[in-house]
Amino acid sequence: MTDGTDPGEAGWFVGVDPGDVDGATAAIMNETATEPRSWPRLAVASGYADSEREYYDRLHEVTMAATRSAVEAAERADDRQLVHAVRAMDDCTRTANELAERVAEWAGTIDPDAETGIEYARELAEREADLPASGAPVRSLAGRVVELADEAEGLRAFVERQTPTVAPNLAALAGPVLAARLISLVGGLEELAKKPSGTVQVLGAEDALFAHLRGHAPSPKHGIIYTHDAVRGTHPDNRGSAARAVAGKLAIAARIDHYSGELNPDLEAELADRIETIQAREVESNE
């Protein structure tokens, strides 16, 4: 039996000065041990604490500090910020469209030239007061729609600026917005880097995928990567192949972005080459 102070087998408090919260925090976060031991007893025996009660008080203090700083680091990471931004962008867009429909329906009762959509809301909000007095509430609502649409645009600009720094290869291959959406769907760049390409291919098509796995639907060919030009621009018969090729390269791009972070220009050329081959196939099958 050892006294619990062997390197790699020691308790977090070994070698830490009782008053040194930073040192203790670092030990909590970075040290490891294969086997647990009676740490409270050993801490008292080694003189780190006068009593188990004092040991637990210190343990509470340092686990709170260590976990708080680990959480902050994880949540402030750039890819997490990107996840929030792209989700907020989609929320704003969806809400703006929903409210624009409401505006159109309402405005139709007082404006004979009422149209639909965010553009009409913008026009209505900016229009001089030629509507009856009862038009004030609907114009105010139209103003909110415009603000939400502008907010969505602002968030899109942030995403377009930020994605290439977080995931240069993914952004180059998929475009910044699709890249950010893929990261958002799995929750982070590291998570995406760990996904097999088959999963990347159907991200965003979970309903269809699970219907397939339960055995009452064909397998989905593509999820959100449908919005990629190489998939959408390919004849439906070959879209499965295109989606597979795109997903394969995106999975590789995510791994490079997470583990190395350097832009690899070859990826884009390889994908373009492969898509060209696939799209050429379509001509043959149609003749």
């Binding site: 977090w12 490891t32 686990t63 976990t67 949540e75």
Partner: protein
Amino acid sequence: MSDERLPDGVERHTFDGMTRLATRGDPVYGEPTDGEWRAWNPHRSKLGAMLELGMETGLSGGEPVLYLGAASGTTVSHVADFAGPTYAVEFAARPTRDLLAAAESRSRLFPLLADARKPETYAHIVESDVDAIVQDVATRGQARVALENARFLADDGRLLLAVKARSEDVTRDPAAVFDDVRTALSDGYEIIEDQRLDDYQTDHLGIVARPRTE
């Protein structure tokens, strides 16, 4: 008001005319309170459901506990209210933010941001011979997590495991998933009691087990 199956510090109290499990502590998730007692919602807590169903958890109150999959701290806050030193392991950063808030007023609740599949990353903190491991992790390989963490458990301790069938395989029949988990678990544990938690949690199995000692 005492109940032989309930640990000390867990009592049945009446909230809005309904008798519910309760512990003493600061409210965490908007649960109703009665003086210093706060209701323990079995629909949001698998351990709460296991107690509500009368499973023999072996918890007596005041003992050290390792809690795997603490999430936002809903259940672990109740555990810390009646147990002794409570080590709360959670892997995801976002819920851990809420866990920290729950741990603020509980001086014997120790939050740890760590992966329950890698016990060596917290074995230098969590003490040996805890009397109970409570496990509620939504990951594939739940039996393996329990086996990996057996090193923390006292020989006469209890594993209180809530198995989520959907985390193992969404497409398979939960009963078949539970059979596999029971089999895998038998490498290191002897199951004392198990019960479906369907009244409170869909497709979950509650298991009470003790370590196999050779």
